[in-house]
């Protein structure tokens, strides 16, 4: 192993032997996650299962394609882990099941729904989604799925109608044919919608927020907030080692000064990775948080730690004393926590403050985790990864130049 990595590994070992540090690195974010989870009702109702096996009742009285599509989606193998569907024939029985708290939501597709939609009937019947108020998160998921299907149908229907009207006006089809063509068009749209449907919301605002696990925002939020503590604390060891004489001792060993600095900086990153990884895995195991695509999650953990580590390195390069880093680090932790949305609050920022959020690892990390938690893939969090890596490169660059210019390492 290279000497730089050995230095980084030594720092990681020391970080995990510092009880006080561990309390802030691991216990504090975890405790706050539990606290907020309790406040938001994450642990009541849906608590024991998290977001899996949501009981949902489907009543399909429609004879057309949309009803079939909805049933097919709710019973598809893609959603088998998430949903526990039951089909009933009677709408009254479905409502009773909700009242009895036997299901999180009931989806009732009324008779003639498809036909009304495809022929653009005036008084179209409505799909009814009955939500169980005891299970807001699960019910929100069901509602989101239904809305997703319908929005796809709607897009197809509008597109189809424009085309049909053009055909009519140019006399290529008769009004009699229009209805049949419209229906065929709509059915095709509805069935393709079924193939691509996913349950996800990357947006955390408003009602949609209920449609995903609040912990996919809260847990990374606090993990990233205390990640700022971790990286500044790790950065502080550079200044501490200088005072304690171990840094000068490293510099008189047969190692380049650049390797020593490199080792210390990699150490900051490694400790950050360890902290976030532990918190993500622990939340996943204990609270059944579904973080999404494991590869993307792993990359996001690495990128978040890198971005934050850049800040830790910069503080260490600028600071005059360990106490100063401690103070600045705590301030940065809170400011970035608020700006970056660690309190689940990013969208409450006034618009003019948003650019300030972009300089925080918290913002990109939290947005990324939330997206992954609701089904986004690697490609969709590429901007988040990119922003965090750019942050890391820029900050580490400035830090290294500053260290060198001050003759510190």
């Amino acid at each position: 192993m290279s000497k730089s990595l050995l230095i980084a590994w030594k720092d990681l070992t020391l970080a995990f032997r510092d009880i006080g540090g561990l309390l802030l690195m691991l216990l504090a974010p975890f405790a706050l996650t539990i606290g907020i989870g309790l406040v938001t009702g994450r642990f009541s109702g849906d608590a024991n299962t998290g977001l899996s096996d949501i009981p949902v009742v489907i009543v399909n009285q429609d004879e057309g394609t949309i009803g079939e599509t909805i049933v097919a989606i709710f019973t598809s193998s893609d959603l088998a882990a998430l949903l526990d569907p039951t089909t009933l024939a009677d709408a009254g029985a479905a409502r009773a099941a909700i009242d009895a708290d036997e299901a999180a939501a009931a989806v009732i597709v009324p008779a003639g729904f498809s036909e009304a939609v495809f022929t653009a009937a005036e008084a179209a019947p409505q799909i009814e989604v009955v939500l169980n108020p005891e299970r807001p998160v699960s019910a929100g998921v069901v509602q989101a799925i239904v809305e997703d299907v319908l929005s796809r149908v709607e897009v197809g229907r509008v597109g189809g109608q424009v085309a049909i009207e053009q055909l009519l006006q140019t006399g290529r089809i008769t009004p009699d044919q229009a209805g049949a063509i419209g229906q065929a068009f709509g059915e095709q749209q509805a069935s393709t919608a079924g193939g691509t449907i996913t349950v996800r919301r990357v947006d955390v605002s408003g009602r949609a927020a209920e449609a995903f696990d609040v912990l996919t925002v809260i847990a990374p939020g606090f993990a990233l907030m205390f990640l700022m503590f971790t990286v500044t604390n790790a950065g502080r060891t550079i200044v501490q080692e200088r005072l304690a004489g171990t840094l000068p001792r490293l510099l008189v060993a047969p190692i380049g000064a650049g390797q020593v600095l490199g080792g210390k900086l990699v150490g900051i990153f490694l400790i950050g990775v360890a902290q976030v990884a532990i918190l993500i895995v622990a939340n996943g195991l204990l609270f059944s948080v579904n973080w999404g695509d494991p590869l993307a999650v792993a990359l996001l953990v690495l990128a978040s730690a890198a971005g934050a580590a850049g800040w830790g390195a910069l503080l260490a390069a600028l600071a005059q004393s360990p106490a100063q880093i401690g103070g600045l680090g705590s301030a940065l932790m809170l400011i970035f926590g608020i700006l970056g949305g660690s309190f689940g609050n990013v969208l409450t920022l006034p618009a003019w403050l948003m650019p300030a959020a972009w300089i925080t690892p918290n913002y990109w990390g939290i947005q990324g985790f939330a997206a992954l938690g609701t089904g986004a893939g690697l490609a969709e969090i590429a901007p988040h990864l990119g922003a965090l890596l750019a942050m890391a490169v820029a900050l580490f660059g400035v830090a290294i130049v500053t260290f060198r210019r001050r003759g510190l390492v």
Binding site: K3, L6, I7, K10, T13, L14, R17, D18, A244, G245, T246, P248, R249, L250, L251, V252, A253, P254, I255, G256
Partner: protein, 314 residues
């Protein structure tokens, strides 16, 4: 090669302050060389330049054939450094500290394990090697601090005031370790402001003061510098001002230098037999009560006193 180290006109300035003002000396292969000087003399600054921690403002030194200015890495591979302040990781055990520092010196595998075992034996900590350093006494930490410098079996070991602030027993152990290492062929550059340590350990001594090497040689050569003079030590009672007595005595004919430390006044005189009566008489005349007088052969302390008019420790 005869000399493991040759320093030529080493200089270091910090802004206006010239901490080391052109120091030259050599250390012969396998000898113990002491750099003796009071606080702020420039000992640490000199060692820092020699070990590559800071760049000299001027001059150069060649260690084991390599220039500290142009070939620092080669130099650092060949020297061991024991810093003045304990530089260890408190939350690692002694063994973990030795492992880490051994790796930094490029050791690994079986050789590293063997060296760690040998060093632990040498510093007498084999049985407590797996305890965290923070649980150790000051003396034990000092021994680990030294052990780190020995892992890669350097040809030349720098020890910067390794006995400062520790109990007499640990100090004894450290001095014995230095002698044992030297017996194995390791050259040692030892800095101290305790002349007894320099006297006990050194083949040769350099006396440094205010950044200048003011005397250099074997102890016998240094003693000759003060030209057959002798030292009187006057012990006075606790309630009396020893520096006032030094001032009185210094003015007497036949007295070369006088300096006060604690309740003792050291007086360098051309002849103890001739000076004793006037010195004691003048002391009584000024109201000092002498509790005892010793006549001593010149030692390093008297050399320093003779050259600077001050005691090594003030």
């Amino acid at each position: 090669m005869d000399n493991i180290l040759e320093a030529r006109e080493l200089r270091k300035t910090y802004g206006e302050n010239e901490a080391v003002k052109g120091v030259s000396f050599e250390i012969k292969t396998g000898e113990i060389f002491s750099l003796l000087g009071p606080n702020g003399a420039g000992k640490t600054t000199t060692i820092s330049m020699l070990s590559g921690l800071i760049a000299p403002t001027g001059g150069d030194a060649v260690i084991a054939g390599h220039s500290i200015v142009s070939d620092s890495l080669r130099v650092r591979e060949r020297i061991g450094v024991v810093p003045q302040e304990i530089a260890l990781y408190d939350d690692l055990t002694a063994r973990e500290n030795l492992t880490f520092w051994g790796q930094m010196y490029g050791l690994g595998g079986a050789r590293l394990s063997a060296r760690i075992a040998a060093v632990l034996e040498q510093i007498g900590l084999s049985d407590r090697a797996n305890e965290r350093v923070k649980t150790y006494s000051g003396g034990m930490k000092r021994r680990v601090n030294i052990g780190v410098g020995l892992l890669h079996e350097p040809q030349l070991l720098f020890m910067d005031e390794p006995t400062v602030g520790i109990d007499p027993q640990s100090r004894r152990a450290i001095l014995d370790t230095v002698k044992a290492l030297n017996a194995l062929g390791m050259a040692v550059l030892y800095t101290t402001h305790y002349m007894e340590e320099a006297a006990e350990l050194s083949n040769r001594v350099g006396i440094i003061d205010h950044g200048r090497m003011i005397a250099l040689g074997t102890q016998r050569e240094l003693a000759q510098q003060i030209g057959g003079r002798e030292t009187l030590s006057l012990h006075i009672s606790d309630d009396q001002n020893s520096s006032a007595l030094a001032d009185v005595v210094r003015a007497l004919p036949g007295v070369d230098q006088a300096s006060a430390m604690d309740h003792t006044v050291s007086v360098i005189v051309a002849s103890a037999a001739e000076a004793l009566a006037p010195v004691v008489g003048a002391a009584s005349a000024h109201g000092f009560r002498i509790k005892g007088v010793e006549v001593a052969e010149p030692d390093l302390e008297s050399v320093f006193l003779h050259l600077t008019g001050r005691a090594l420790r003030d």
